[in-house]
Symmetry: D4
Subunit: 223 residues, 8 copies
């Protein structure tokens, strides 16, 4: 009873329901997800720890858990992804950024976009990135995930002519100040075409990218 | 002599040259702009004060100055904008945000997108915004400009299902801390589909929006 | 013996004693509350965790615990609330803000005011708020609780012509910086008639509101 | 042309129009004020420097300028203030805070409330404040203005049982950080019944106070 | 082995050895203290938790533990305090500040000064402080401990003509930012004669006070 | 009229009147100073720029202006300084800190203390400081003024056994953040016996030092 | 699988592989280290807690664990350090800085440099440092580790004419803000020849120093 | 008179005198420079504005002014630079960083090192940097100057195996916070071998680089 679920907005926007799992108990998560599933709607929850997921999966073995991404979801079988001939590039700097990168990747796939993962291509070994330049350039949009000095979106932004959604992570220590260094770097990117979401917000990066990919997708689908 | 102009990038990305006028003298601005114009390319400079513009216009009366936007540009007559059946909504909260909003609007128009201005619709008089909801919803993408508490992108983000580029401004005083309050608010938006550029970066907001609008535009153009 | 209880102030101000439970042991809380109760005075403690409350309720089963609000109190039966024909609207943005909103609501009720709860009406789904505009407008004063971008008080402030007490919460992550984003947003509200209390200070929001409601209440009571 | 004046809000809320003069030219201020005056409505502008005021007064000698408050206004003669038998106490710490205190006082008087000024009663000479305690206690609400360590609202809050609106000022230097020290102190006040507005926001302090005073006032007026 | 103990400095300055217990194990604390004691020197350790103290006291039952202050010390019986006819006033705002205030008091007593405790006299109930004004005025120096808005040193500084050492504490929440609000307030005190030590540094406050008290003390002792 | 001069406090504390000249016009400064002088009292104003001083000295040629210190004062001839056989050491790091160091020195001399200046002894050339160690050690109290990394008070604090009042200055650039680097360094000094005043507050450093020197002075005077 | 190991960079730069152990499980650390070792390459991991080390050493008893440094490594016996006739001075302020200082020392030794440890020579007892001045002066480069006020690099920088790499530590409390005070102090050092790495980054300090020492070393080796 | 010039340090360290020109008048700069020149010593002043330089050059036409670098110097003709067969690479991101980059370059040349300028190679056009990789790799040390997101040192650090001195600049606006974004990025560089100096401190970058280059230089010179 306590929450006014905003069904109208979701429908109007063509996106299934997504739950923010942090600060919710396993019981709360499962009850919300089941309510949505019971109407035949897809549902996904982010920030679900392994412990909570285990508990939930006992009762709902048909839910799927992505351990790296901390994401739990359920998807109607028959439902086909909205066809798009394009794809989203999810680019990340280091292996420590994997949780956030996978939150983005799994969210984008759940929302129906094709995803290409280009991981561990941080700027301190620039050739790893350049070796993948072509694949990134051909994406409709890139989600670029990086912690520490947050330099990767600037380099990617210079390589591509499509939008870059930058996701700073809290990876680092000391003068990193929980992701502030990467956040400020990305907001100050000297490359055009870079916009930024909150620290560790892989979900938000994916959501923006899917919106853009759908536009491009429907375009190409009509070719 | 001193600067390695990155012509390649501009060409590759399909965007004309844009100059950051702040910290450059009138003489420097005019010499760079003329060099580009002399090759028959369009050129635009942001952050050109009225004083500098006056000086430049004496020598180059065919340049056009947008006083509110602090923007100076030159455009080849024969060149037709890349046709797009969509438009970008530039939404702003108060009249004090006009300079930044117009920097966005003038940049987007220069880059060939159609723009609709929905100004002075700050959240403290929410009906002004709601009266314009339809026009914002139909845009391919919105650039939402706001200072002080920076709340407008959150409300707009909830109304539309297309991307919102949020531009915080430094308008305010005291605990505004030169735009920090609006910046943090926008990064923490509870609406999905909002990404953020630097404080007062109307140019950046427009650049991201045009990238997106072109995708959508080519799509619709093919209808 | 160690504390100089300021009985005089409480009496002079017409407010019963309120204890800040954070950082106090169950034993300390119970001993202070019993001392006050033993004089026949009402007493309330905020920030009492479920664990401490359980322990205390074993010894004092006539105390009442509000689990959502983390509030424990005792009230003399015969005492009737100071009659007021008005009410306080407690408005909150999301279900994560519930603890703080309920701290405000329970405190205000304990202090003798009538409360109407308008919860889960965050600005990203603005119609949920507008559907409740009438009830908020008719309140003598509103306590508006929000985390993340803290935009709600600005919208409410524009709807009503009575005072709005804004309570930022620490709900959020990343660039939220433990409630700083909401706090700054509220201090910079472009709506007139909004004043702000400390992050997560539901108690303080309620206390201010009750002071105002009593003025309005006595007015109406005389009609 | 460019601005959507929100007449509806002003009427609905029973408050005349107030202009924020900072960042507006003398010409802009005078044209907005004349437009309002021409409809027979009262009008006031804050943050009008002496230079701008001089210029405006040449054309509109019936406008009144309060030099300390940096406030310019026009008021219809026949209009009587909404009768209130109460008053607002404007309390300030030092003579450097006068501009902000007078912005509050002049705004409150313009909005129809009676004001009592209790100035230069900073906490480092506590007896100056205590000598005025009675007058502050009898106010319906206090606006307490202080810079530097911002301690005054805490002491006043302990003396009175009516609401205190705290206005931090940017007076100070060094670790004052443009008013941050006073702002943080006031948000952390250990006295109940204190709420805070933005740094140097005398206008906001007064607006909140008048809202409260009107409630109390109508009450008393009915005695 | 690893540490170069700076015996020379201690001797030159006439102060016994003081250990900073935080981040040291019980074993490390006891071994340093025993080494000093074995030379017949007094020794005191600050920031010793109850758990560590219990462990240490099993082996060294002649050590004395002050639980509130988190202080453990050993003092030679025969040694008489350097005679001083003056005393230090330790003033604190609330009962939450007790740990820091007692760290100051116990340190000062250990260093040979007489201490008078004036506790729980926060500015929101100003008469509690004024009732003790005489005793504070007669002290050679005051150590004033306060968290939250940190207003107490300003009021005390205005009452006395001797030095005030202000000790901000980290007591508070939200916009307190771990003691920043109190620290900034104290650095901006409008009272003359107030200097400040680090947040929660009761030891530092006492050390400075004892230095001053010794000067005053020797003076009076010669009367 | 507007200011409640706190004569009582000044008398009670045995200190002449000191005016804060910043933000006051030459006319305001001269009128306050003459009012005090006319009662035969000494008077000093800090933060008086050369321009204002010139203007004032035309009307009051018997005032004395210390250009380095930005201090203007008047002192009764017949009045002899309160005799003290001790002295205050004013120590400063670099020539850029001179204005603040001289504000301290001139204030202390005006208040009747003997001052020894030990200037330009910053820690990057440690032997310059050590060459003066004896003179600093023999002072009753030291005022140590430093900008940039603010390291000097830590070194001085280790050399002496009397109190050190540390005055951070805003000298520096970049990560200096207007004196924040020096302020934080001094608050974290690992030397015991260091307390801190506000950034650039030479006056405050001197005031604290004179209070301490008077205690020590009266002591020695009685020898 | 998931990580693109940048072997090329390591080889090109002549440095063995170094693992950042924080946030990795014992299993992950051991698997990466074994993979490198199995190619006959040296390998070192920083930030390995005692618990993880114990677990790993059970399976790999030929790994060596430096408990103070939290460093685990394996080195081929036959491999001789690149000969250098110089050495690196690792200087640290207090015993609390030992973990970071030893991270630097152990890393430098692992990378083939000779190290001299000059520990516990903080500036509050300046003679301890001066007693070691000769040894520091003769180093090819110094790594200077300090927390709290971070003053040590400034003093060392003034004593030597070779580069100083400053490593701020997070040791301290209150206004230390997790190492910010030391970091800012070091960035503002008035001594020339000081550069700074991240808070607690002993590894980074050593890496820079070894690079420099190798240049100097090869020089001397050729004598 | 007032300053204790630290000749000893300069001699001991083998570096000529360098004056910090900011905050000094033309008269002060010229008098210090002449004093040093009169002893036959080289002398250089940083941060000398064009206006001051013009004034000084009238009296000392044999001084040389570098307008971009804001540097004024005098060098004895006969003195030959200490021979080094290596060189320092000064790398900068954009033309706005030129003042700082040239401060570094001119300082390094004055101190006797060979300099290669690789300018305008910011990361948003990565091929411009890669085209110069060989020249940077062959330098004994690189000074890398960048504002905004400060990403350049990370990319350079990954390309070279010699030390990188990173110099953040204050170039940028909004969330740049006067160079904070670049500073934090550089301190968090994921490339090994990067150390950082203060914002805009081109001088400091050069000084560190020359120290290192001399070591490498003498080495090679002996080949
Ligand atoms: N000094 C002030 N500080 C903050 N807000 C103000 C001030 N003066 C006027 N305002 C507000 O600014 C609004 C007018 O802004 P504007 O349309 O820019 O003139 C008014 O409705 C007031 O709510
Ligand atoms: N440079 C200074 N820094 C801080 N406080 C000062 C300074 N000069 C004077 N004061 C203080 O300011 C008070 C006078 O303030 P005012 O009445 O505004 O002139 C004096 O009593 C001093 O306590
Ligand atoms: N304590 C440390 N602090 C900073 N960087 C480190 C540290 N230890 C290792 N590294 C760096 O981290 C890299 C390895 O990171 P990873 O691949 O996450 O293990 C190494 O190449 C080093 O450059
Ligand atoms: N641009 C600069 N940035 C930082 N430090 C500088 C700069 N120029 C000179 N210095 C340093 O400042 C010292 C001289 O300071 P001063 O005595 O004030 O001229 C020199 O020894 C240098 O160490
Ligand atoms: Mg791009
Ligand atoms: Mg949306
Ligand atoms: Mg309102
Ligand atoms: Mg009260
Ligand atoms: Mg006093
Ligand atoms: Mg000492
Ligand atoms: Mg040196
Ligand atoms: Mg490298």
């Amino acid at each position: 009873g306590f929450a006014k679920v905003d069904h109208n907005r979701k429908v109007r926007q063509g996106f299934p329901e997504i739950i923010f799992g942090e600060g919710k108990t396993a019981a709360q998560i499962v009850s919300i997800m089941e309510a949505i599933k019971s109407k035949g709607d897809d549902v996904l929850a982010t920030r679900v720890t392994k412990e909570k997921a285990k508990e939930i999966l006992k009762y709902q073995p048909d839910f799927i858990y992505n351990e790296t991404a901390h994401i739990l979801f359920w998807k109607k079988e028959q439902q086909l992804p909205e066809k798009s001939s394009g794809y989203i590039a999810i680019v990340c700097a280091g292996t420590s950024d994997l949780r956030v990168a996978e939150e983005a990747a799994a969210t984008a796939e759940f929302l129906g976009s094709e995803v290409r993962r280009i991981y561990d291509v941080g700027v301190a070994g620039i050739h790893r990135l350049l070796d993948n330049a072509e694949e990134i350039r051909n994406a409709t949009v890139s989600v670029v995930v990086a912690g520490m000095e947050g330099a990767l979106p600037s380099v990617v932004g210079g390589l591509v002519s499509r939008p870059v959604i930058a996701v700073p992570t809290s990876i680092g220590y000391g003068a990193n100040f929980q992701g502030l260094s990467a956040l400020l770097a990305m907001l100050n990117s000297c490359a055009s075409g870079v916009s930024v979401v909150n620290i560790d917000n892989g979900f938000g990066g994916a959501y923006n990218a899917v919106m853009i990919d759908r536009m491009a997708g429907s375009e190409k689908a009509e070719d």
